[in-house]
């Protein structure tokens, strides 16, 4: 089994290397944008940096972490060897090759188009080909996850798939659906333009296809955090999962409602009518359901733990939770950030209300809180939880781990709360510098400096995180392997096929996607919009 551990570690180290690098350049960007960094760096350098930050965080950290974590879950939750290990390694190397191909044009300034592309701007074709390879590799991972679950079900007829694996496969299935949009955009529109085969591009169609991917991709990143909430946090706290069914429902709801909602990223776009926007906003409102179910179920699970440890009264159980354990601490901090991020989110999805905040720092604050905050802090907690098992070594003390989690939380709050405020004032996104001589912008200056301080705290936390993991590789050998996954209060004995597989849900996703994206995409085929001239950045 050493091979499976090496496989996981190989993925995680690529992910965390990209993460550390992205944190460093992210902090640099905040300096450039602040009043302290006037005339630092050219726009070329700045947008190169933004592109690298986005690609590292959104594509490399997430994809490699999720693949590595998926392999870990498939082996440990199913308690059987990973099928197709050679394929898994092949996928790893293909993804790594993709990263290298993507990084070279970014570093040479030939791909300063940000990680969200913005056609008709086009980068060097290698930038896109590299990203396609990363996605293709992740498809291999999806298939391996599906095979692992199917084989296990065949060996264990009638038994419920362990929740951690069920959720991982839900994520794999969702990811296959998710990537269709961006894959079509890249293969049929952007790559031909980047290669010079075509001179114009239908921008409305490109934006629509990208929006297909743009929301669900965030849930792809998020699901590992939710797996930790449901399967690891209750055990770490010394309790049980309040409801296994709730967990299954949550992941199913993520699968069906994360996809037909991407157009809420296009609310301010002119190429779609109000009606289709409204339909997707209504579906977006239902994306809140799985998160609200999770908040309740996990809080109840922690309450079980707290009361078992002697907590009394309505809130007494909170104090008696073992907050010294990184997983419990991270879960608590993650929930706080999820609350603030959710607040920002319901304003974003507010149909007309989106006009108040679209493309302002409010949005940047929202996704940094949700992804960078509540999700990435759970990536930390997962890494801390499974690193001893991967390396066979034990922490000498948990102090630095807790410090790191606290620093991340504080840094994230200090960085993003001012961004919300600035966003409401109209501070816009994606600029290399502000004209602080303007009276409106001058008033923002102090808050920009505060958020920059938050960025520095985050960078310190990121360095400490990698140092903590690296230190473990030289720590004493692990004594006892503690169990990782929580039991449910009522462990599921039989579950309906609907909660044990994805056939029904795939059909419903198809129905929803046809209803939500059928006409919005078809309109570009019925009446193609006038093409825009391709602008090549290189």
């Amino acid at each position: 089994m050493r091979n499976a551990e090496r496989l996981c570690l190989a993925h995680f180290w690529v992910a965390f290397a990209a993460f550390l690098f992205a944190c460093a350049i992210g902090t640099w960007q905040m300096w450039v944008r602040s009043p302290l960094g006037a005339n630092v760096g050219t726009p070329g350098q700045y947008f190169m940096s933004v592109t690298a930050h986005g690609v590292s965080m959104a594509y490399v950290l997430t994809t490699f972490f999720i693949m590595g974590f998926g392999y870990f879950v498939a082996v440990t939750a199913l308690n059987r060897a990973l099928p197709g290990k050679l394929w898994a390694w092949a996928a790893y190397w293909v993804a790594l090759l993709g990263v290298v191909l993507t990084v070279i044009p970014i570093a040479t300034g030939q791909a300063s188009v940000l990680f969200t592309f913005y056609p008709p701007l086009t980068a060097s074709v290698w930038f896109y080909i590299g990203l396609v390879l990363v996605v293709a590799a992740s498809w291999i991972w999806c298939v391996l996850m599906l095979i692992a679950m199917t084989q296990w079900k065949r060996e264990n007829p009638g038994r419920p798939v362990p929740l951690a694996m069920f959720a991982t496969v839900a994520n794999a299935v969702m990811w296959l659906w998710t990537t269709v949009g961006v894959a079509v955009e890249l293969v049929f529109q952007v790559i031909p333009a980047a290669m010079g085969l075509v001179q114009t591009i239908d921008v409305g169609l490109a934006r629509t296809l990208f929006s297909w991917t743009l929301h669900a991709i965030v849930y792809f990143w998020l699901i590992p955090a939710y797996i930790a909430f449901y399967t690891m946090a209750p055990r770490a706290a010394g309790g049980r999962l309040y409801s296994d069914t709730m967990g299954r429902l949550t992941f199913i709801l993520f699968l069906i409602y994360s996809l037909p909602v991407g157009m809420h990223h296009l609310l301010m776009d002119p190429e779609h009518g109000n009606a289709t926007k409204f339909i997707q906003v209504l579906l977006t409102a239902f994306v809140a359901v799985p998160t609200l179910l999770t908040i309740f179920t996990i809080t109840a699970s922690l309450e079980i733990a707290g009361r078992l440890r002697g907590g009394r009264g309505i809130f007494g159980w909170i104090a008696s939770l073992p907050w010294e354990r990184p997983m419990v601490l991270a879960t608590g901090l993650s929930f706080v950030m999820l609350g603030f991020g959710g607040f920002g989110g319901i304003v974003n999805m507010g149909y007309g209300m989106n006009a108040m905040v679209h493309n302002t720092s409010w949005v940047t604050a929202h996704f940094h809180l949700i992804f960078g905050g509540s999700v990435v802090i759970m990536y930390f907690a997962i890494a801390y939880a499974i690193w001893p098992r991967l390396t066979g070594r034990e922490y000498k003390t948990l102090g630095p781990l807790r410090l790191q989690l606290w620093l991340w939380f504080i840094g994230m709050m200090v960085m993003t709360l001012p961004w919300h405020w600035l966003g409401l004032q109209g501070q816009w996104r994606r600029v290399a510098n502000f004209n602080y001589a303007d009276p409106i912008i001058a008033a923002w200056g102090p808050w920009v400096v505060v958020s920059f301080a938050g960025g520095i705290i985050l960078l310190a936390s990121a360095v400490l995180f990698v140092a903590n993991l690296a230190a473990l590789h030289r720590s004493p050998a692990l004594g006892i392997v503690r169990p990782l996954y929580a039991l449910a209060v009522h462990p599921p004995l039989r579950v309906p096929a609907a909660l044990n597989g994805f056939a029904l849900w795939n059909v419903l996703v198809l129905v929803l996607m046809i209803a939500a994206y059928g006409y919005p995409i078809a309109q570009f085929l019925i009446d193609p919009s006038p093409g825009a001239i391709v602008h090549r950045v290189r």
Binding site: G196, G273, A275, L487, P491, L493, V511
Partner: protein, 278 residues
């Protein structure tokens, strides 16, 4: 210790209500969304401003332009173009596939006297054309030809060329070795000029010169590349833009910027981009 001994499920009995109710819920949510978004909201909003239901629904779906909640009064206005060049897909393909040999012949016939066979101009008032963007050369020749830009010599020269010849000439000069940023003049330029080129001037709302005029910057398609260019030519053209005597820059992209530059800055920029030392 809980009993976790597995027992086989009875899929049909257990599964049927799940199948049914989840489908009902999802389809119900979807239908209510369609009902509200396509019918109720546009009809109610349209009624409040006197737009009939059919028009309101068509606007909501995006079949007709406009908002279902606002009267739409399109006012077609006549317009006078500052340049008649239209960058179509076909034109860009023609430029990409233009005949360089024919272009060379044409250059030797009409251009060589001032701009040189390889695009190295023979006098300070003539721009170097070697390695210049083909689209930029095409745009200027076309504008001379249609009168959007005027020059005592170039107007007649361009009028004698047809569109295909313009494309050939543009492609030929574009294919000559590219001129590179002149590191010496860049190093000798005062910081304020370097800043204008690299960072622009936020206080005056001037974007960096390099965000369009560097090769491969991804700016407007017709933007000329500035590198090792005749300083005198740059000064002259910036002044023409500033005074509004030259106005074939689509949407006044250069007129607005040039009008804000001081004479000293114009000279500084010309020095920064000047040719020499090869």
């Amino acid at each position: 210790m809980p009993d976790i001994t597995p027992r086989p499920s009875e899929p049909h009995v257990l599964d049927q209500p799940w199948r049914m109710w989840s489908s009902v819920a999802v389809v119900g949510i979807l239908l209510s969304g369609i009902l509200l978004g396509v019918l109720v909201i546009p009809i109610v909003q349209g009624r409040s401003v006197g737009i009939d239901a059919y028009t309101a629904i068509c606007r909501a779906l995006g079949i007709l332009p406009g908002s279902p909640a606002q009267p739409q009064s399109p006012t077609p206005l006549p317009g006078i173009p500052v340049s008649q060049v239209t960058w179509t897909s076909d034109l860009l393909q023609i430029l990409a596939r233009a005949d360089v040999r024919r272009g060379h012949a044409k250059v030797q016939e009409v251009c060589v006297a001032c701009h040189g066979e390889k695009g190295e101009s023979i006098g300070v008032e003539f721009p170097h054309l070697a390695g210049q963007s083909g689209a930029a050369i095409y745009k200027q020749l076309f504008d001379y030809r249609t009168g959007s830009r005027a020059h005592p010599m170039m107007t007649d020269v361009a009028k004698a060329l047809d569109e295909a010849a313009i494309a050939d000439v543009a492609a030929y000069y574009a294919g000559q070795p590219q001129r590179n940023p002149n590191l010496v003049t860049m190093a000798e330029s005062p910081p304020a000029i370097v800043q204008l080129v690299e960072l622009g001037d936020p206080k005056r709302n001037i974007a960096p010169c390099s965000s369009c005029h560097r090769a491969g910057a991804g700016g407007p398609i017709e933007t000329p590349v500035l590198a090792e260019q005749r300083a005198e030519y740059i000064v002259q053209q910036l002044k023409l833009y500033a005074s509004g005597k030259r106005r074939n820059d689509v949407y006044a992209r250069m007129r607005t910027i040039a009008a804000q530059l001081t004479d000293e800055e114009i000279r500084g920029l010309a020095f920064y981009y000047r040719a020499g030392f090869r």
